[in-house]
Amino acid sequence: MDGPPPSAGGTNVEGEAPQIEPTIETEEASITDDAELERTLGLPGGLAIGIGTMIGAGIFVFPGLAAGRAGPAAAASFAVGALVALLVALPASELATAMPRSGGGYYFISRGLGTLTGTVVGLSLWFGLVFATAFYLVGFGYYGVDTLAELGLAVEEALVIPLALLFGAGFTVLNVTGTENAAKLQNGIVALLLSILVCFLSYGGLDAAGLVGEPAAPERFAPFGAMPVFTTSALVFTSYLGFAQVATVAGEMRDPGRNLPLAMVGSVLIVGVLYVATIFVATSAFGSEQLSRFGETAMVEVGRHYLGAAGAFAIVFGGLLATMSSANASVLSTSRAIYAVSKDALLPRRASRINLRYGTPHVALGMAGGPILVLTATGRVELLAEVASFLHLIMYGLVCVALLALRRNEPEWYDPDFRVPGHPVVPAFGAVASFALIGFMQPASQFVGIGIMIATAGWYFYYARDVTLKGAL
């Protein structure tokens, strides 16, 4: 294409070198020396991946927790989260169109900033997704218990974790044995969720505006001041993890120059608007104090408030689907993250073995499923969510830094179809905002996150110190 890029070199402790072959990208296939990889995903598929991963946990698990912390300003917290996500989605889109390969954020960072940052981000992403999945599963457990309650079965909260574990194990097994038509199912779920939320929002919005129903007593927008708005943003940012997952399937997307930016930016915008509106409606239905007492399934009470039993049932059902779809999408992303680093010899190659019978990466799926179950067992919703956000935010910040680095010294091969508007302000803001959000987290989450990063850096020095990836396409 545009002259030979610098090649990768070096080997890891086991003598494996990164597997990088020259690839020609067309709109419909990636062509390597001997084989072609079909691009089969269209724009709807990309949007479904982004929306499907994001829409689950955030809107169904956080309203109660967020309202308790920030009051009605929780809506602003979600807006801040959306803004940060958008500031990252734009640079990530540019990088994805310049390097439309599978691997996503990890790929851009390892190529733009080198092996050490690549290893830290790649392995942290694995753990970040594991934490996120555990969080989704716990959310699923709460909704599962609520479903049983709605069906008239008296069950205890103690069932939340066992239920979450059961489904976590189920997803892993399902993904190992192959999920034919999973994408179609996922698209259906996303469409159903969107319609449930839109119906709910339209009615709730009318009510909140005082047009139908009884007027509610107005509440101070930010009763606890500005600081909680930002700490709440840090907590709920988990709701936006997912837009960058679109970049991990960049190698499978048709016409990536057009579809990747649209899918990433579009899914952030759609989801962000929905979140902000939902929180606004939820805090209008009840006072934020009462909302926070409802806990993880506060949305069910909001549904009941507006539409009675049917509303409650719709939200319970939606919550089940949403947490399920998020959890499943994340299990898959985790196995892709493991594949990306093992291809680059940062993990043993056998981690990405495919089982010819099912055609699935059983080792990587196991490396996702095992730790997910352990973390799910802890049941610590806020900690799981924040650590997941922490590890993702590091990656998002570094994606912006990688863009700045690449643009400053544009290599010959760098030819993105989409360029960030407002460069360098947008990526610079994206980096600052991502790192700043981390500062608003609870100390416990920060310690766990930093611990994981130190451990991954240690792994780099032990295992893959000699591998070079910078600029190796």
Partner: protein, 243 residues
């Protein structure tokens, strides 16, 4: 020369029978080795692990189809959606015909189905080119409700083939279910040639109909692709000029 695309699920051990390789000798052949993956597996991951094995197998197959004489080549594709892959590769290689491999002993007679709204002229000219001057007989088959028009069509189609010295017979099925009649007629024929009806080969090659024909006749089925009037080799999807 017409190019025939032979898609084979290479890692599942699908291969071409001796009968098919002999039959396609006069043609240019592209062996399309493909491996279809479930959605959760990135195609590149499978390539990393299986490219070498698949390439070895494909090289052997391409040799059987005459790679040494330059009339055959191969491509290897990892995909989530094989029909999309077939469409794309057929358009890129300008292949007019697909083969569903089947199993076949040496073929001495072809059944050529002209039923339905198919491009009779293109099918007949392909058959002429395929048979060449070999000792292979051709049965033209048509299922229709209109006996006289059907007879006329068959006779017109048989003319150029007979003119090339080919042993042509015709068979007309009136008021019968087209598919059943075709499968019945297939007895005693080594391979079947059909025309693709809809704009996409999906409906015929891998739809119920083609699968039944292929399954019930056992032998190879050659599908002459549908080409839209005035369009190039591909008419079923908009594509950019540079791909």
């Amino acid at each position: 020369m017409t190019r025939v695309l032979v898609p084979l699920a290479i890692l599942e051990g699908e291969s071409a029978s001796a009968g098919l390789t002999t039959l396609l000798e006069p043609m240019n052949v592209t062996v399309l080795g493909y491996h279809e993956l479930p959605e959760q597996t990135p195609p590149d991951q499978a390539r990393l692990q299986y490219e070498e094995r698949a390439t070895d197998a494909l090289e052997g197959l391409a040799t059987e189809f005459g790679a040494a004489d330059g009339t055959a080549d191969y491509r290897l594709v990892f995909t989530h959606d094989r029909t999309q892959t077939f469409d794309r590769v057929a358009a890129e290689t300008k292949a007019d015909v697909y083969a569903i491999p089947g199993t076949a002993a040496p073929i001495d007679r072809l059944l050529v189905a002209l039923t339905g709204d198919v491009a009779v002229e293109r099918i007949v000219s392909f058959v002429g080119e395929l048979v060449c001057d070999r000792d292979i007989g051709v049965t033209l088959f048509l299922a229709t409700d209109d006996e006289s028009a059907g007879r006329e069509l068959l006779d017109t189609a048989a003319l150029p083939l007979a003119g090339r010295g080919i042993d042509v017979r015709t068979e007309l099925a009136v008021d019968e279910l087209p598919l059943e009649a075709l499968v019945d007629a297939a007895v005693g024929h080594g391979a079947i040639v059909v025309g693709e009806r809809a704009p996409s080969l999906r409906t015929l090659v891998f739809g119920e109909e083609a699968e039944r024909i292929a399954a019930e006749s056992v032998g190879p089925v050659l599908v002459v692709r549908h080409v839209e009037e005035g369009a190039g080799a591909n008419g079923n999807r908009t594509r950019s000029d540079d791909s």
